[in-house]
Amino acid sequence: MAKGDVKLLGTWASPFALRVKIALKLKSVDYEYLEENLRGGKSELLIKSNPVHKKIPVLLHGDRPVCESLVIVQYIDEVWTYGQSILPSDPYDRAIARFWAAYVEDKVWLSMRAFMTANDEDARVEAVAKFKEVSVLLEDAFVKSSKGKPFFGGDEIGYVDIAFGAFAGWFKVIEKALNVELFDEATTPNLLAWVVAFLAHPAIEDIIPSTDKLLEFATNVVLPSIKAVAPASQ
């Protein structure tokens, strides 16, 4: 199968699309990026490529669609096998990586939405507490899997780094907008350092959207849409 002709349907602010961009960058894969304008209605290509969920990101590889960001990241790792591996090679380490990526999927996005829907101080304090519960477990996971190195994947960015780190831009938005600390020296010192290392990584720094741009988007688009519609599962 020719490895040419790779397209990615995404939206610029989506952390899920960002996961795929990171994986493609790590593997030095050339691709065409197609921005979905979700406010203009879903494109025909999106509906045709992802009839089940009608959501981005969708990777189109020679016109064959792959959907769901973590499924796409694993696909990229299995197709483009040169260079660094995104998942570890040992089956047990892979199981641990998949476990924590699934944990991130279940808990992190929901706890971030809790911040966005918090409309008083009590709700905000609760959102911080809930995020702490999640981050303390991920701190422990980081210590065990990094083995003293800068990333969950060790020396290099791996699967859990991508799954969790794709939210790093949004962490900064929440911290700036709500004047809270999501990571701190007392409870999550390693994650505090990890966020810095992740955002400074050559594969990340050029492709992650700026905090100001995301904050503007959150204020003008995300928050009004959350207030307008009853919270729905993502």
Binding site: V71, R94, F99
Partner: protein, 229 residues
């Protein structure tokens, strides 16, 4: 590669589909294991469960040479990658593997919850929307079976194992509630697939005893109705 001295244990619960899926996979691969039943998952979790799955405190937990693996989808892939003898649960081709992962996630995250939601709605609730959503999910699975005996093609694969909830748990719940959902007219392929799957010994041997399961569901429903009165 599996070492010569292997110790495989599984902490499970007799009526849990997630637990049974792992047992099915272990049997398909011909892996010998020690089964540890959680006696009281609701009120009194065992020290082993809390030790080996401190994050979620749920079954199933696979313990391989003392190291735990949790979350049924993670366990199934771990089994496939560790024990390479016996039938492959996932195909080799990366695109086919991506499709397997996609459908497994769809079944766990979207289809099963939608079907369960409809089947457990009380009689006073208008279930039309819930029914439509459940049927839409099942329709995607029905289409996926076109031209195939199993989701895995000619042989049982990971999607078939993950979809066992549809074939047994949800079909039984359908019988108990007498709600029409997965019928032969609208879902001929799914119904044929379910019958085929359940007749396979690796599957049939590892399902909860039907009468015992029906009693459990009935008593749970009665308890739920009693508390809402």
């Amino acid at each position: 590669m599996a070492s010569t001295k292997e110790e495989v244990k599984l902490i499970g619960f007799w009526s849990s589909p997630y637990s049974r899926k792992v047992e099915i996979a272990l049997q398909l691969k011909g892996i010998k294991y020690q089964y540890l039943e959680e006696r009281d998952l609701k009120n009194n979790k065992s020290p082993e469960l809390l030790k080996y799955n401190p994050v979620h405190k749920k079954v199933p937990v696979l313990i391989h040479n003392g190291r735990p693996v949790v979350e049924s989808l993670v366990i199934l892939e771990y089994i496939d990658e560790t024990w390479t003898q016996g039938p492959a649960l996932l195909p080799k081709d990366p695109y086919e593997r991506a499709m397997v992962r996609f459908w497994c996630k769809f079944i766990d995250d979207k289809c099963s919850p939608a079907v369960r939601k409809y089947l457990t709605l009380g009689p006073e609730t208008d279930g039309e929307n819930a029914r439509a959503e459940a049927q839409e999910c099942l329709k995607f699975l029905e289409n996926e079976l076109k031209g195939k005996k199993y989701f895995g093609g000619q042989t049982i694969g990971m999607v078939d194992i993950v979809a066992i909830g549809v074939a047994f748990w949800q079909r039984t719940l359908q019988e108990i509630t007498e709600k029409e959902l997965m019928n032969k007219q609208d879902f001929p392929l799914l119904c044929a697939w379910a019958d085929e799957l359940l007749s396979c010994s690796a599957i049939g041997d590892n399902l909860p005893p039907k009468d015992k399961f029906i009693s459990l569901i009935r008593s749970r429903r009665e308890a739920a109705t009693a508390t809402t009165k």
